[in-house]
Symmetry: C2
Subunit: 232 residues, 2 copies
Amino acid sequence: MTSPQPAAEQIAEPAAPAVSADHPGVDELFAVLAYGEVAAFYRLTEEARMAPDLRGRINMASMAAAEMGHYETLRDALERRGVDVVAAMTKYASALENYHRMTTPSTWLEALVKTYIGDALAADFYLEIAHSLPEEIASVVRSVLSETGHSQFVVAEVRAAVTASVRQRHRLALWARRLLGEAVTQAQFVLADHDELVDLVMSSGEGLTQLAEFFNRLQHTHHSRMQELGLA
Amino acid sequence: MTSPQPAAEQIAEPAAPAVSADHPGVDELFAVLAYGEVAAFYRLTEEARMAPDLRGRINMASMAAAEMGHYETLRDALERRGVDVVAAMTKYASALENYHRMTTPSTWLEALVKTYIGDALAADFYLEIAHSLPEEIASVVRSVLSETGHSQFVVAEVRAAVTASVRQRHRLALWARRLLGEAVTQAQFVLADHDELVDLVMSSGEGLTQLAEFFNRLQHTHHSRMQELGLA
């Protein structure tokens, strides 16, 4: 994902981030991400039961373990900010659990695609807002992002399957579209309930002046993920 | 666990380990431990569904994630030794899965006790043989051991429950005894099928000249764990 370079006069301006470190939306952002990591952990391990072999189960377990590493980064950051972590996370339980309930995979390939798209959507979301956050906040976000390479094992397996079967390709392309749709729906519910988060997202970055634009951008990067998986 | 100090003439002897690094039992030891970590990962996450709250689910998920960290240490060591990791692990699937099937907890407290006893038994086993292994092997074993502190959260919760209820205490004491019995049974099956492992255990350490003595020692350290949990 490449962003347009800022014009020279913008570079000359003071490098103050658009959002201050004590913006209340930061606590909410970390809390929803933290719940997301724990929810992803449990979903990955449940969906791994569909793995055809031990190797697949091990790969999913490693990815799930990485989610808990991300969770611990977010928990530590919330604790440093004096937030009651579990209470803050609990507010986001229903949106995240609804997303997973609405997107329960019925095959191993659907589980793999969900893992990959889910990781990628989270990464896109972080990247959209990270650059306008103060350094101490951005560094937490970056370290949560840094391990998503785990899901690369998915690409080889999905590409092999969709190269072998056009029917499988159409089926998984529809599935991936549904994953994006549900993620956007639940993200909108979350934003509707949390003004601090809307304010954080709205005040982030040059281009991010409208939520619609933000979601359009997610759609665009989603498309490039579909191409990576051989689904577009 | 304190071991008797070796006599002075023993210290004067050359410090060569009792087992060489290319003993075939080392591959088998790492493989059974590796399968054990992956099996523990999946069991912990399944049993965590009984947690009464989000905090309990998070604690279990962190412990499970730590198991995958141990797995990765063992996998790397096996790969350095030129072993086909997944194939080597698969030989131990039935013993480990049988152990878990025979010890499926029916309450959250049983799940907690199983976690703690399981971690402790694995640690006891490692400690029994680690000191006679060559340094490169012992360091793998030590780094797998080093994170078992995660299960300390179990102690507070179990002690509180058994202090409040004598019935609960008796029930969990029986449960813990059953866990030890099943672990010993499955360990004996594993040893019966793998001469290289028997040879490794038999040639480990001064006191470890007989398997019966080895199992007696496990029983003894198990008792001290029962005391820690308030069950003995």
